[in-house]
Amino acid sequence: MRRRKRLRFDNQPDELILNSLVDIALALVIGFIVSIPLFFESGIFVNAPGVAKGKAGEVSDIKVNIHLLDDGGILLNEQFVTYEKLDELLPELLARSIERKVIISTEPNVQYQRVINILDLAKQQGAGELALLRIRK
């Protein structure tokens, strides 16, 4: 007659070791908290468009006035600048401004992504307020 082996439970610990579980759970939660902004959309606050009569900057006394051209050119306070130069000049200009307001106007065929790039750059360089300007012709 075959003898059946009896399982012995004598070596089992009395308490569950929860340390590893807690570590994994915490790592999961932190991972989610960090990665959620990458999965969900965020936004950049803008001032709704005002309307300027004539060309941008003509009746403006604001120090940071950016105008985007259809051909990819950028005008900073009516001076041609490259994107890299704009990156350099923006902090200096914003440091002199009390309101740290950046006004952006564009020509009719400028893509939205280009405007967002400029808004993003301005915010990164310390702009307090962003305003999009609509030019009345």
């Binding site: 009395d14 308490e15 569950l16 929860l18 579980l21 807690v22 759970a25 999961l28 939660v29 989610f32 908290i33 959620i36 902004p37 990458l38 969900f40 959309e41 965020s42 936004g43 950049i44 606050f45 803008v46 001032n47 709704a48 468009p49 985007l68 564009t106 009719p108 065929n109 400028v110 893509q111 939205y112 992504q113 280009r114 405007v115 967002i116 790039n117 808004l119 993003d120 915010k123 990164q124 999009l132 609509r134």
Partner: protein, 129 residues
């Protein structure tokens, strides 16, 4: 009467964790209206927090949605105004495709401002680079 020495909290912890993770994922989906597929521009700056908002979506094929409901362009003011009546301080998010013309987005922004929106933001996808 036999007393239990330890309470087994393992299943409780697992269920709790799953609930937390589910809430973290589902919560923003419910509060925001991002079901309409749009290739929003990428940016490093992310100012807005996840909160209940009015979402105006503008697609590459010039279709307009308010809170994921398609509307005609002339209905935009009425649709946003009726949403803002519930809470005038509600955030209005403009979700526009990155390839649309900026003048079209400005037109939408202008109409949203006319409705009395006090907080307006342009939707972006945070770039990790």
């Amino acid at each position: 009467m036999r007393r239990m020495d330890n309470i087994n909290i393992l299943p409780l912890a697992c269920v709790g964790l799953m609930l937390v993770l589910m809430m973290m994922v589902i919560g923003p989906m419910i509060m925001t209206h991002t079901q309409t597929p749009v290739d929003v521009p990428k940016a490093h700056t992310a100012e807005t927090k996840i909160e209940e908002n009015i979402t105006v979506t503008y697609t590459i094929d010039s279709r307009l949605f308010v809170n994921d409901v398609e509307i005609a362009p002339e209905q935009l003011i009425n649709a946003v105004t009726s949403e803002l009546e519930k809470d005038p301080y509600q955030l209005v998010v403009i979700r526009a495709d990155k390839n649309v013309l900026h003048k079209d987005v400005l037109e939408i922004l202008s109409k949203v401002k006319k409705c009395g929106a006090k907080r307006i933001a342009c939707a972006i996808k945070k770039s990790d680079g």
